[in-house]
Symmetry: C2
Subunit: 324 residues, 2 copies
């Protein structure tokens, strides 16, 4: 099984999701449609819909609700991206100019709000209270998590527990919601619903961790990004936390000083990267990722072994795949 | 009947709403509670809850749901205020520093998002699909309306229809929702539900128009504000639209040039104010307000004449009361 085999399993559904995302943009204020269409036509892998739809299929549901609810989740996800880009002053997203860069912060914040409310409308139309509550809690957790991340910027006393809370909020909770919704659509037992929620959560955590490792230790030729963006933004992530657990007191002090006072000059970044290589931080961090991926895959064992389960199992590894 | 008589009718409910607003702020990210508490403790007249609760009482409902749903509406209203203040770069709100002024734009945007999602959670808990849909549509309309207002900034070709669309979105739709929800809680006929929705909508339009008149033509000693804020921000409102309908072509050209190119120097503002006095724009604009208030009060005629109806009837006039 490779990634194309997986995507082929849900070709029709993915097309239907794209159509749903655009069809729902029927604001009578043309600018709102324009901004939202711009964002959706800029692409995006629609990972969350793929997980929801495969989860539903694995649980025996192949109706239309997973398409519509995927649209809801992408609207919520996109609203958070729009607001994050305004907050970070990001100029680009997915290799294209960000919405705030083209349309301005004001319109971008409001279009985020519009997508939230449109997501909510479609959730009300779907009519399932459990699903509504899952996504309401997810949305609250995501905004709280962003605030928490802001507060913890350049806070070198951040703990692994704080870090887990941040990545749970910013990434894992929405993946978890998608998989759990798939289970609810399939009307499986509560035990299975919980297992799929765990699958999504642990996979989301591992996915964000893998991304955070790449930020420092990825191959720039493959990632297309200069290493150390997170250092620049004062975001303290898994590789730095792991480094601080392994380096000498003097080295830790220097690393902390860099984070607190100086941020990412080339010299500082190189110092940190050299320490990371010396202490084998990539391998050590990847062990943590692997632990979550294992937990994630174990959650699938409860389910009958069909091609959709195999696809989810494959995706768990694929989401954190890296050059060895 | 005076305003104190009206407020006394709902003293307990108003206290319960205040408690509900604060009690629901139980984020485990302390900063989120801090920002939201700051905003709620800064006051606000809680007009929307008063209208929802009086509507419910008039329709025979006196249970707890109107308190909880008032909390939902205030969360949505406050989220829009937080985002608006970020967009406008407002430094003050209700005579105190604005949240963005104290906590920064980033945290303020995210706390707005948090309030939206918390509002949504409480709506899901309430469990009534009609009410959920009313507020989802209201939230979408509000964000669309703000975008529309931004697009129409300093657009001198704005029509009365455009202006009505803007004030319907920014003010009337939420008042309308509150009154309609009161009717739903009271389980009255659909005709009565519609009548209360109309009551809230027309009253909301009149209220916003009265506010827009005061912005140019209010007594600064009573409003506490320098006239012409809207001119400064390029917002074209009822008194300007009325002026453009009444002035000569040459005067209109000068007014348009001021709005498009120059904005509010004292000299420009005085020119516009002088024209407004010459053409009796205050009285002419107030005629429009009165038309909406009349429509609003007519909508109440369908209901049994009890003290709550009398209170709503009083409030309709009170909301647009002015020195004659």
């Amino acid at each position: 099984m490779n990634i194309n085999d997986v995507l082929e399993l849900v070709t029709d559904e993915r097309e239907a999701v794209e159509k749903n995302l655009i069809d729902n943009l029927d604001s009578d204020v043309e600018m709102v449609n324009k901004v939202a269409s711009y964002v959706f036509e800029s692409g995006g892998k629609r990972l969350r819909p793929v997980f929801m739809i495969l989860s539903a299929l694995m649980c025996g549901y192949d109706g239309e609700r997973s398409i519509k609810l995927s649209g809801v989740v992408e609207y919520i996800h996109t609203a958070t991206l729009l607001h994050d880009d305004v907050i970070d002053g990001a100029l680009y997203r997915r290799g294209k100019k960000s919405a705030n860069n083209i349309f301005g912060n004001d319109i971008t914040v409001l279009c985020g709000d519009f997508l939230y409310s449109r997501a909510f409308m479609n959730l009300v139309k779907d009519g399932n209270c459990d699903i509504q509550m899952i996504l309401a809690v997810a949305a609250a957790t995501m905004s709280e998590g962003e605030v928490f991340q802001l507060i913890k910027t350049a806070d070198v006393k951040i703990t692994m527990e704080d870090y887990l809370k941040i990545i749970n909020s910013k990434t894992a909770v929405l993946f978890s919601s998608c998989c759990e919704i798939g289970a609810i659509l399939g009307e499986v037992s509560e035990e299975k619903q919980k297992a799929l929620a765990t699958f999504g959560r642990t996979l989301g955590i591992a996915f964000q961790m893998a991304d955070d490792i790449l930020d420092y230790l990825g191959d720039p030729e493959k990632t297309g990004k200069k290493p150390g963006t997170d250092l620049n933004e004062g975001k303290i992530t898994l590789p730095v936390i792991t480094l601080l657990e392994n380096a000498t007191d003097a080295e830790c002090k220097r690393v902390r000083d860099i984070i607190v006072d100086e941020r990412a000059t080339d010299e500082n970044l190189n110092y940190i990267l050299e320490l990371m290589h010396r202490y084998d931080i990539k391998a050590k961090s990847e062990l943590v990722v692997d632990k979550y991926i294992q937990e994630s895959k174990q959650s699938l064992e409860l389910f009958e072994n069909n091609k959709y389960r195999a696809a989810l199992d494959f995706l768990a590894d694929y989401m954190v795949a890296r050059e060895k």
